[in-house]
């Protein structure tokens, strides 16, 4: 009986977490459904980004359901492992959570004589989380930098260590030190935040590094006086997302779908898939169909299911032109 109550309780909590785990996003209904073609079989292997590992696996599994003859292989050791794999030919797909650097493109071009084909497959945003009881609603990038970074390359004049430093005059908040949560250095989220919010500066050594996106949320919801960054898709009931202002007077932008698409929200990024596609030759049917699958309604639904944001129909059409 006890166990029964306990498990119902746990189930209830999980259900609530699930309900609130995504920004309310649906896939654009105009995106065409995937049409099956004949003659698709063979091996499809992917080497690249660690944060996209789940997404690529889910997409490949979805693809395999349509074409049972396709054998799949996924390896996720970080975005920088994708270019070498594409160059050596050990993988046909190179998922990356950042665009390829000039140097990597140069290396590819030196071997094949043409550039790798870049396809945007999903959108992602980092959100700044504070505890639900926190009276703040938005923050500027420079303040964020002054909270998280030792170097303050964002140009904020003072170091921010307490909630009073950032303008909370309330007696219970004024003298409270800010406890800072973040991801571990192995994650792409860490590097992205470092580059775009800290302007390549260093994190303070007081930033607590946690081993997963949900752990950060967990930490922030357990710690009233905390702030943390994590993927926007991981929001739960105990935390709230802060709007971000690019400059002091600009309107705060929240990581909702519109702001991300328009670029108003500064901490958003595309997820890329790189392939080796010779413009002079007929492209590989297997790879081509897989990309068409990702850019279909079904593919984008999988993107949403994995906590990323889908592309719009316009973006999809733009990307489809790239491979045609």
């Amino acid at each position: 009986m006890r166990i029964g109550i306990l498990s119902t309780f746990i189930f209830f909590i999980l259900a609530i977490q699930f309900l609130f785990s995504n920004i309310n996003v649906t896939v654009d209904k105009d995106i065409p459904k995937y049409k099956k073609v004949t003659g698709v079989s063979g091996n499809l292997s992917s080497i690249g980004s660690d944060s996209m590992n789940n997404l690529i696996t889910l997409l490949l599994e979805g693809f395999q359901k349509i074409y049972p003859n396709v054998k799949i292989q996924v390896e996720g050791k970080g975005s920088s492992t994708a270019p070498p794999a594409l160059i050596s030919g050990t993988a046909q797909l190179g998922p990356m959570s950042r665009p390829m650097k000039n140097e990597e493109i140069d290396k590819f071009e030196a071997k094949f004589g043409y550039k790798p084909t870049e396809i945007k497959i999903a959108l992602d945003a980092l959100a700044i989380y504070v505890n639900n009881s926190n009276p703040m609603n938005y923050i500027t990038i420079a303040e964020l930098d002054a909270i998280f970074s030792v170097n303050r390359k964002g140009g904020y004049k003072r170091n921010i260590t307490t909630w009073g430093d950032i303008g909370l005059k309330n007696k219970y908040w004024r003298d409270r030190p800010i406890s800072i949560y973040g991801r571990n250095s192995a994650s792409g989220t860490y590097s992205f935040f470092k580059e775009h919010a800290l302007f390549k500066g260093d994190f303070k050594n007081k930033v607590q590094e946690l081993l997963g996106s949900s752990s950060v949320i967990q930490g922030v919801s357990n710690d009233k006086y905390s702030i943390g960054y994590s993927g926007a898709g991981f929001k739960t009931t105990g935390v709230k997302i802060l709007g971000i202002m690019n400059k002091n007077n600009s309107k705060p932008a929240f990581p909702d779908y519109d702001n991300i698409l328009s670029g108003n929200y500064p901490l958003s990024r595309f997820m890329y898939l790189y392939i080796n596609n010779n413009p002079q030759k007929e492209s590989d049917l297997l790879v081509l169909e897989f990309i068409k699958f990702i850019l279909s309604y079904e593919g984008q639904s999988i993107v949403v299911k994995d906590g990323f944001l889908p592309l719009t129909n316009d973006l999809i059409n733009k990307e489809l032109k790239v491979i045609k």
Binding site: N151, T162, S185, D202, N205, E209
Partner: protein, 732 residues
């Protein structure tokens, strides 16, 4: 017949016994040897993996080439060819490996002067009448396409001013610009290549910026812009002036006066610091955001490098790391590494016979090319671990962008120009801090509990308690970590002040109680051997605990106004963190208590009963027996229990990983978190490229852990033996 069988079976039994004996002997021997080999093998593997870190920086001259005419400009084409253009207007291209001339041609330009971009993609030639030509090199050329090495093209409508203040810069989008100061107050940038359109058609004035430059500041010497054209530096004799772009004009920010005449300046690879070569040595300036000035970002003097009294002529910073080459007068070239004060290694040395005019580096940073007036030399430089040595690992380092030198661990940054910071000191401090806090928490509890259970408690209760504590060993550390980090850490801040005052109040109340008892002359039976008395004892201690808790709680509430953390910040300047030393000490302590308890209890139990009985017979009471007889006898056992627990706590990973917050802070505060060596390995190994610097440093920290445990265990064993001998001598 019967007898025969008997003998036979006896023989058989003997044979069987001998056989099993020898099998067992070899099995045990083999097992032992294999274990030993495995342990030594692991240690050897770990150490071997970290050894390449200490490979010294070296440089070797692999090629010398003399020319007839004066060399104007030289450099590399990819990592396999080098070129030079001489005063006769001829370009020559050689393969490095064989020093074979693969291309040689007259450019058809009577060259007066030449400059090039740092990455050897573009060379600009000026002819006698002041017209400009650009040579664009193709670095992805193959052996059989010698005619595709470069193309040459006239740059229309542009003349270099006088003095020629030019710089070719690769911008962030991959295009090349020529930056030139037209007058002292305008900077114009001319686009030399454009990746999207036809490169032949792109030499045009791209942008002109106004510079807020006051001519009274001095005659302009050199100019330098970064690849975003955000920061502009202008030198005038011995000043460096810093301008920041605001849309289409550059505003003056500040200036730094150096003690020498500036001969050349260059950005580090991140473009966040500036290295200045002067006739009085080499200086480092940095863009730093410090609170003490009105302008948040300004150029600051960072340090002067030790370079003897030589006059520096030129400085060339590497594109891939924080190293840079300085060419001194007299043909001396030294490799520096930004955080180190001294030169790392002498690269090229002409012993004062020739002046080195320029130095180029390949894209991978492994080759350097110098030219004097008529000689080219190529050096092979091994500096893959230039950023790691005993100093960076174990002492304070002043890194780029920091105000002071410090112990910093921050291994990765996601971008190529990131300067990794690998100080092991915060990690060692973190490891020791966690372990020592755990020992402070666990040792008194476990040892006193062991003493109490084995000496004072009756057998029935003793068995219960002993079994219970032993079961605690079976709790997986991840469970302890989970409970402590999710449940205890958030509520601890409400109890910390209570715990601290309690620790002070509890002994006071206890002493008070004893005095009262003595005063009342109540006689307490020495021997608590009945269950009833034990229970009474436990209840009275519990009541004592509760009372002192409530007293402490009331005191604290009135003192810190219910907000201990703010109080701590305002009055002591201490920042309380939710995941802190207390939490780690507690969680780690919980995991080692059963170990210390059981082993100490066992060693107390093996004290001969005769010894205890004689003590009682001589009239000693329980405490006297425990303190004078049992403890000395069991001390070696208790000591080794403590040491074993210490070794375990040092290597414990899961609890620290989940509980400590993993902040690489270098302090001993109770209220800040920590990052231990073992947790650090668990966090960072997934991102460490196999064979890279970080990978090897993680292995180095693993060997450090091994050394720690080895030293502790050895010391523990030595001390234990000594203790044992001492007590035995005393007893005898």
């Amino acid at each position: 017949m019967d007898k025969n069988i008997n003998i036979k079976s006896k023989n058989y039994k003997l044979f069987k016994a001998l056989l099993s004996d020898s099998i067992a002997k070899y099995l045990i021997f083999g097992g032992g040897i294999i274990t030993l080999i495995a342990v030594i093998g692991i240690l050897a593997f770990v150490v071997i993996q970290s050894l390449p870190l200490f490979k010294p920086v070296s440089s070797k001259n692999i090629l010398s080439h003399k020319t007839e005419n004066k060399i104007l400009v030289s450099g590399f084409i990819s990592n396999t060819y080098y070129y030079y253009i001489d005063s006769s207007g001829t370009i020559s291209i050689f393969e490095i490996k064989s020093n074979k001339n693969v291309y040689h041609n007259d450019l058809g330009v009577s060259v007066n002067d030449a400059i090039k971009s740092k990455d050897d993609k573009i060379v600009l030639l000026e002819n006698i009448s002041g017209e400009l030509y650009k040579i664009v090199f193709n670095h992805s050329v193959r052996n059989d396409e010698v005619d595709k090495f470069f193309y040459i093209d006239k740059v229309p409508d542009v003349r270099l001013g006088n003095p020629k203040l030019v710089q070719i810069k690769r911008s962030v989008d991959g295009n090349y610009f020529l930056c030139q100061i037209n007058n002292s107050d305008t900077l114009c940038t001319i686009k030399l290549t454009d990746k999207t359109t036809d490169p032949l058609d792109s030499s045009k004035i791209f942008n002109t910026f106004r510079i807020d430059y006051d001519t009274t500041l001095g005659v302009v010497g050199k100019i330098l812009t970064d690849s975003r054209l955000e920061n502009l530096l202008i030198t005038t004799s011995n000043n460096v002036l810093y301008f920041k772009r605001d849309d289409s004009s550059y505003m003056f920010v500040n200036q730094i006066k150096l003690s020498g005449e500036i001969t050349n300046i260059d950005f580090s690879n991140s473009e966040q610091s500036v290295i200045c070569a002067t006739d009085r040595g080499v200086f480092l300036l940095e863009f730093i955001n410090s609170s003490d000035v009105i302008i948040p970002f300004s150029l600051k003097f960072s340090k002067r490098y030790e370079s003897g009294n030589l006059s520096a002529k030129n400085v060339i910073a590497s594109n891939i790391d924080k190293s840079f080459f300085v060419i001194f007068e007299g043909g001396y070239t030294e490799l520096y590494y930004q955080p180190f004060d001294k030169g790392v290694i002498n690269i090229a040395n002409e012993n004062g016979h020739n002046e080195i005019n320029s130095l180029s580096i390949t894209k991978n940073g492994k080759l350097a090319l110098t030219h004097t007036n008529n000689q080219i030399k190529i050096y092979e430089i091994e500096k893959s671990n230039i950023d790691v040595n005993i100093n960076t690992l174990f002492s304070k380092v002043k890194y780029e962008g920091y105000l002071q030198s410090d112990y910093i661990w921050q291994s990765s940054g996601g971008t190529d120009d990131y300067e990794s910071k690998y100080s092991l000191i915060p990690l060692i401090t973190g490891t020791l801090k966690g372990t020592i806090f755990a020992m402070i928490f666990a040792v008194p509890l476990a040892v006193l509990a062991a003493l109490y259970t084995s000496l004072y408690l009756n057998d029935k209760l003793k068995n219960y308690i002993k079994n219970f504590v032993e079961i605690m060993t079976a709790i997986p550390t991840v469970v302890i970590g989970f409970i402590v980090s999710l449940w205890l850490a958030p509520i601890l801040e409400f109890y910390v002040p209570v715990i601290i005052t309690f620790l002070i109040i509890f002994p006071l109340i206890m002493i008070l109680g004893i005095i009262i008892l003595n005063f009342l002359k109540l006689k307490i039976d020495n021997k608590f051997y009945s269950t009833k008395e034990s229970i009474i004892n436990i209840i009275s201690v519990a009541t004592l605990l509760l009372t002192s808790y409530f007293i402490a709680d009331t005191i604290i509430k009135s003192l810190v106004d219910n907000d201990f953390v703010s109080w701590l910040n305002v009055n002591m300047g201490i920042h309380y963190e939710q995941r802190n030393g207390i939490i780690v000490g507690f969680a780690l302590g919980i995991s080692i208590i059963p170990m210390i308890f059981t082993l100490s209890e066992d060693s107390i139990n093996i004290v001969p009963k005769s010894l205890i009985m004689s003590s009682y017979a001589l009239g000693a009471n329980n405490w006297q027996t425990a303190y004078r007889v049992i403890l000395p006898y069991a001390s070696s056992g208790i000591f080794s229990a403590i040491m074993l627990a210490f070794a375990r706590a040092i290597g414990e990973t899961m609890i620290v990983l989940m509980v400590a917050g993993n902040t690489p802070i270098n302090d001993w505060s109770l209220f800040t978190g920590l990052r231990s060596l073992s947790a650090n390995i668990a966090i960072e190994i997934p991102e460490a490229p196999v064979g890279g610097t970080l990978y090897r440093i993680l292995f180095l920290s693993a060997s450090l852990l091994f050394v720690f445990t080895f030293i502790i265990n050895t010391m523990a064993e030595l001390i234990r033996m000594k203790l044992k001998r001492k007590t035995l001598n005393k007893m005898n």
